[in-house]
């Protein structure tokens, strides 16, 4: 029994990587426009913004919670940064304000979830609407633009031929991966997802840590929103709409359990890349774009179904 279940578990654990490699091989064979440096960088750039949101989402989901507000936080942080910038606050301060707004909304999510003992599903759903409303109030529904080259370099620039958003995402991934896997805080995030009561009884300030992780999720969403505004050279009040689902999809496809405690950041990165590769592949092979919603949804459901079947024995 243990040999078979071990074998099944291995597939469940590493299936995502096998699928990713298979997808790349298949697309390379189908079209010779896929496996070029230029196209792969394009894929990576497409994936970078959702992956950054996915970092915070992974940490939140590892604790057995969820953050549905990230899409709205992307928009709000983007317009607040843009507004500060065009209002003459200067770039560093404007970015700090944007990141601060995201982190603050995240902390509010965490605070209400943890101390109000309300499911994060509901709290962050409410915040999704609140942040969306604040964005529209702040902008009057109009985009904000006219940032200057320095700010637009963040989302549109390249360093050594690599798009800056990809570099930023890579750095954030490496840092968070280290925290999750090799530090006490990371250990507690996993342990909370496994048995929150046990962690509390072990004397850990669970409430504070959980609140902070929600704040981190808001922070990463804000970072993504600022890069997006920079890349588009304008902050759109509707930016990031629906990104919470894309981020959750990447996390879940990446093998992180929605019940918490299992999975990790490497999977999320692959999950985000898979969606980006699929989009790219459909464009390259001429499949209508609207079809990608169907494919995306289908993949998530199938992947979870397969995962569940493989882990039952």
């Amino acid at each position: 029994m243990s040999r078979i279940s071990g074998w099944r578990e291995a597939i469940a654990d590493y299936g995502i990587y096998i699928g990713f490699i298979g997808l790349i091989i298949a697309l390379s064979l189908i079209t010779d426009r896929f496996l070029t440096v230029r196209n792969l960088l394009n894929v990576a750039e497409q994936a970078s913004l959702i992956s950054i949101v996915g970092i915070g989402m992974t940490a939140v989901i590892l604790m057995g919670e969820i953050d549905l507000s990230v899409g709205s936080v992307v928009a709000l942080s983007g317009v607040v940064t843009a507004g500060s910038l065009t209002g003459g606050f200067g770039m560093p301060l404007s970015i700090l304000i944007g990141l601060g707004v995201g982190a603050a909304l995240g902390l509010v999510n965490g605070f209400i979830t943890v101390y109000g003992e309300i499911p994060s599903f509901i709290v962050t759903l409410g915040m999704l609407s609140v942040a969306k409303g604040l964005t529209l109030l702040y902008t009057g529904g109009e985009p904000i633009w006219g940032f200057g080259e320095a700010f637009e370099f963040i989302g549109g620039g390249k360093v050594l031929g690599i798009p800056l958003p990809v570099i930023i995402a890579a750095v954030l991934y490496i840092l968070t991966l280290i925290v999750l896997n090799w530090t006490q805080i990371g250990r507690y995030i996993y342990a909370i997802g496994g048995n929150q009561r046990a962690v509390r009884l072990a004397g850990v300030k669970v409430e504070r840590l959980k609140t902070a992780v929600f704040g981190l999720s808001g922070f990463f969403a804000a970072a993504s929103g600022i890069i997006l505004a920079s890349r588009l050279a304008s902050a759109q009040p509707t930016a990031g709409s629906g990104w919470e689902l894309d981020a959750i999809a990447a996390v879940v496809l990446g093998g992180t359990s929605l019940y918490g405690g299992e999975g990790g950041l490497a999977g999320t990165l692959i999950g985000a890349l898979i969606f980006s590769v699929i989009n790219n592949g459909m464009i390259l092979t001429g499949i209508p774009t609207f079809f990608q919603y169907v494919v995306k949804g289908g993949i998530i459901i199938l992947a979870l179904l397969l995962d569940k079947k493989l882990r039952q024995s």
Binding site: V179, W182, T183, Q184, I185, R187, Y190, A191, G193, G194, N195, R197, A198, V199, R200, L201, A202, G203, V204, G261, E262
Partner: protein, 271 residues
């Protein structure tokens, strides 16, 4: 309820004021809304003493030890530790004093490995960067192996997630975790309830070992034979009241059972 004052008189006799008293819980009352889970319960534990806490379901055993362990706060009553009045408002307060608890559900994080659970909340770290304390994973694995060796429990690997381990192994991890910090008192909440006979024997041996090491033990059990075999003193709760506090040699299983289930048993003199 009408005869509660009579019981109170009986209880006070058992409060031990001699030297070597480790913990004294004085008049502990705990209410959950309208329900009185504990009614003015006194409990004293001496150094290196093994106290068996017995009672029917709902008698208040778990509530009492949860108050001592800091998992619940009493509605009223005082706790004295080594003669000093102490406030135990959180699990870490109890730990700081030297009181460790092994909960009935063991409070293990099933998704972590053996060392991860053994060192939960007190991870070993070689260096830190700001708020980030980096884990010394190898060191924790080695230490975990040492500690579990002492308990004579063998694990094939320290890397196994504890959800994949047997009931006895899981119990061993929880007990090992509790004694790792050299506590004065270990509270065991039904340590043998989920175990096979052989594994239960081992836990009882372990309780004797703890006493030999100078560690006091409070343990809850539904198996009275176990309690009579191991305990130096038996404390009986019934519907939130303490109805008995006696040495095993001064009583017998029948009497204890009567006290446990008696509606209002007449002869509840502890001596």
């Amino acid at each position: 309820m009408s005869e509660a004052p009579a019981e109170e008189e009986a209880k006070t006799e058992s409060v031990n004021e001699e030297n070597g008293q480790l913990v004294r819980m004085d008049g502990i009352t705990k209410r959950f809304g309208g329900l009185t889970a504990l009614n003015e319960v006194d409990l004293a534990i001496n150094d290196s003493e093994v106290v068996g806490l017995v009672g029917d379901n709902g008698a208040g055993k778990s509530t009492l030890i949860n108050v001592l362990a800091g998992a619940l706060e009493q509605t009223s009553g005082n706790i004295f530790y080594k003669g000093k009045k102490v406030e135990i408002n959180a699990p870490e307060d109890a730990k700081d004093l030297g009181i460790e608890t092994v909960y009935q559900d063991l409070a293990l994080a099933d998704n972590l490995d053996v060392a991860g659970n053994l060192f939960l909340g007190r991870e070993i770290s070689n260096y830190s960067f700001g708020p980030l304390r980096f884990l010394a994973k190898n060191k924790m694995n080695e230490k975990a192996e040492e500690v579990l060796d002492v308990l004579n429990i063998n694990f094939d690997t320290m890397k196994a997630k504890v959800r994949n381990l047997s009931g006895g192994q899981r119990q061993a991890i929880a007990v090992a975790r509790s004694i790792y910090t050299d506590p004065d008192l270990v509270i065991l909440d039904e340590p043998t309830a989920a175990l096979a006979v052989e594994e239960s024997e081992r836990v009882l041996e372990l309780i004797n070992d703890l006493r030999d090491e100078g560690i006091a033990v409070i343990f809850i059990s539904h198996t009275l034979q176990e309690v009579f075999n191991v305990a130096d003193r038996i404390v009986i709760l019934n519907q939130g009241n303490k109805v008995g506090d006696m040495k095993p040699e001064e009583t017998n299983i029948d009497e204890v059972v009567k006290l446990m289930i008696g509606g209002r048993y007449e002869n509840d003199e502890p001596n």
